[in-house]
């Protein structure tokens, strides 16, 4: 027993001591028949409902591998659980980079979690691609050239709402209710982008903390300013409270709600569906429950993928249409890479995507990047609550150029 353990230890030590020198021309994480990609997601903990995204991404890569992979190489997608805790995200990301030696990182979940590795990946010059978060800070090519988001940022969304208000009521008085953190402040910045010097005169602000039990006081304050438009950058629990309270006090502003807080089951039903009639939000995805897409080729492509690769997946969960869109973008970048999967070239291709249609995105909404503009999706379409469902109206609107 002792000798065999000793032998094992010696063998292990010998293996570890052997320098693992990769050929100089070889890019990290890439061999003749494999491309290794790393990611983290909340596979456990409070945000674990997002874990289906990783599952769907893995399935899309599997389909690609079944069809021959990329440039003759199979994609090896490694996902670790961070439980939505930033320290664990850093730990797992270091594991991906330093032990697994992945070529690059793709679609890691969450704003606080990605913030924890933002500096690390940029110092090590590792492509940190198409993150699953809507914060605006990922579009900062000057200071963080190796990080890029994907979905329209909260700031772009706010720009679109402000543009719509100016179109409808050029002299509107705007009330803005936001959560006092990065998420909420993106809405303030977005409205400021559009209004510019008129911001201070036209907008009244009220913030709240995530720990506040209610936001009644803020709503009363905003109503008393005489505002006739209201933009809300708040999480679902407060969204339900706000919709109900604004209705109950008889305030009838042109009201906009962040698209993270418009779920029928989580926000509109608790608030009372009739109290939210006229509420406006926006989306960039095709809603799979919308009959307009029943025979849409793009959505049929997605349904076919779901049937073959995720047969037990919940078809109503829009994380799947999100994942399909972001994975399509990733595959496009890999195809553009040709045969050069070095980190420099992956980043170059990721920031040079010509306007691209994606199966699960609304018609007119394009995926595109330029080296000086990291906002991947810049357009959205408005939709209004009719008491039962969201109804799209108007054309696709693009955020401001800032």
């Amino acid at each position: 027993m002792t000798t065999s353990r000793r032998a094992l230890l010696a063998a292990t030590a010998a293996t570890l001591a052997t320098p693992r020198i990769a050929p100089a021309q070889q890019a990290p994480g890439v061999t003749a028949n494999e491309i290794r990609i790393g990611s983290t997601n909340a596979l456990s903990g409070p945000a674990s409902s997002y874990s289906v995204i990783s599952r769907a991404l893995t399935a899309v890569f599997k389909r690609q591998n079944d069809q021959g992979g990329i440039a003759g190489r199979q994609i090896n997608f490694i996902v670790y659980d961070d439980g939505y805790q930033p320290p664990r995200t850093l730990e797992q990301t270091r594991r991906l980079v330093e032990q697994d030696r992945v070529a690059f990182l793709f679609n890691q979940l969450g704003t606080p979690t990605n913030s924890a590795i933002h500096r690390y990946v940029n110092q090590r010059k590792i492509p940190h691609l198409f993150l699953a978060t809507g914060a605006d800070k990922w579009a900062n090519p000057k200071e963080y050239p190796w990080t890029i988001g994907w979905q329209p940022s909260y700031r772009t969304e706010a720009q679109i709402y402000a543009k719509h208000i100016l179109e409808q009521k050029p002299d509107a008085k705007i009330a803005l209710l936001y959560q006092n953190d990065d998420f909420g402040k993106d809405y303030v910045n977005g409205v400021r982008d559009v209004l510019g010097p008129r911001f201070d005169a036209m907008v009244k602000l009220a913030s709240h903390e995530a720990t506040d039990p209610t936001i009644d006081s803020q709503i009363v304050s905003l109503q008393s300013t005489g505002a006739d438009a209201l933009i809300c950058g708040i999480i679902p629990r407060f969204a339900a409270q706000a919709i109900r309270r604004v209705h109950d006090i008889g305030w009838r502003p042109l009201m906009f709600m962040t698209n993270v807080s418009v779920s029928g089951a989580v926000v509109m039903q608790p608030a009372g569906p009739e109290k939210g009639i006229g509420l406006i939000t926006s989306d960039y995805r095709k809603d799979q429950s919308d009959p307009a897409w029943a025979n849409d080729p793009g959505m049929n492509e997605w349904r076919d993928f779901m049937r073959r690769y995720i047969p037990d997946g919940e078809l109503g969960d829009n994380n799947y249409t999100y994942a399909y869109g972001v994975a399509s973008t990733m595959l496009q970048v890999l195809r553009q890479c040709g045969n050069d999967f070095s980190r420099e070239n992956v980043m170059r291709q990721a920031t040079n995507i010509k306007p691209l249609d994606v199966a699960t995105l609304l018609p007119g909404v394009k995926v595109q990047t330029q080296p000086n503009n990291y906002n991947v999706i810049r357009q959205m379409q408005l939709q209004r609550w009719d008491g039962r469902s969201w109804v799209r109206f108007g054309g696709v609107i693009e955020g401001a150029n800032v």
Binding site: E209, T211, D212, P213, S217, V220, S221, A240, D248, I249
Partner: protein, 290 residues
């Protein structure tokens, strides 16, 4: 001026929430001389239990009663199983257990019932909003319930021998034991009652703020400020303190410090009371003869 009146009314409505939870905090303090940090999480768990019972088709008030009984049992079991072994341990050990309970119950609730926000039914409904929509029938009804619970607590502690025995067990366990009070069971009873009152508070709060596993996280802090302001050993004081914190917080947020510092107001109240008048506005000053 209209704005001021609206802020005050909205503050009273929110204060009703704090008052209900503050009352539960005072209850456990009366019975055990500790402040249970897991009080909010226990109340949230009870509220989820109530929602499950209601969704199973049981009428509201029957579910209300059933939840109170279940919560009472949970409270007693927690004391018997978890607190009993550390009964004579230092206060720091108790704090450790409370924080452990907070994490276990909070995450357990999320694990069992999920993290999505849910609507909770109210037994008090009104056709049209009252006072210009600032106060709902539910908020009036829940304030009445809080006051009702307050009266019951008062009568229980002042006018029943069981209440007297419980107070004795908390204030002076050794003497109480010498005169024949079963101190261990009195503590368990105190935990049960506190859990039951917490359940009532949870069921009254949930229709306003919506139910999720973190529902009580922010509320508990304000409730604690209210309980301290009124006097942590005085149920009536805690209720008044809860309402006062609701109004103060709104007025300070709207006119003095701005909404960004509303939470700070609650913390300032806690520290201010502890520094200036530790017994609170209505609390009894404890002096001990040496």
């Amino acid at each position: 001026m209209e704005g001021l009146a609206h802020q005050i009314i909205a503050g009273i409505a929110t204060g009703g929430i704090y008052a209900a939870v503050a009352l539960a905090l005072v209850m456990i303090y009366q019975a055990t001389h500790h402040v249970n940090f897991a009080q909010g999480e226990m109340a949230t768990l009870s509220t989820f239990i109530a929602l499950s019972i209601i969704q199973a088709g049981v009428p509201y008030w029957l579910a209300f009663l059933a939840t109170i009984i279940v919560s009472f049992v949970i409270g007693v079991v927690v004391e018997r199983v978890l607190m009993r072994p550390v009964q004579n341990a230092p206060v720091l050990t108790h704090v450790g257990v409370f924080i452990g309970l907070l994490l276990i119950i909070g995450n357990g609730t999320g694990w069992i019932f999920g993290y999505t926000t849910k609507a909770f039914p109210s037994p008090f409904s009104s056709e049209q909003p009252l006072l210009g929509g600032l106060v709902s029938a539910h908020e009036l009804g829940s304030t009445a319930v809080t006051l009702g619970v307050l009266v019951l607590v008062y009568l229980f502690f002042r006018h029943t021998s069981l209440g007297l025995a419980m107070r004795a067990a908390a204030y002076n366990p050794r003497s109480a034991r010498l005169v024949g009070v079963r101190v261990g069971w009195m503590l368990a009873l105190g935990w049960g009652l506190a859990a039951a009152i917490g359940a009532v508070a949870g069921m009254m709060v949930a229709p306003v703020v919506f139910l999720d596993p973190n529902m009580m996280l922010g509320i508990l802090l304000y409730a604690f400020a209210g309980a301290l302001l009124g006097g942590i050993d005085n149920p009536a004081g805690a209720v008044i303190g809860g309402f006062a914190v609701g109004v103060l917080e709104n007025l300070a947020g709207a006119y003095v410090v701005g909404t960004e510092l509303k939470l700070t107001v609650a913390l300032a109240i806690i520290i201010g009371v502890l520094v200036v008048k530790p017994s609170g506005l209505f609390g009894r000053v404890v002096t001990s003869r040496v």
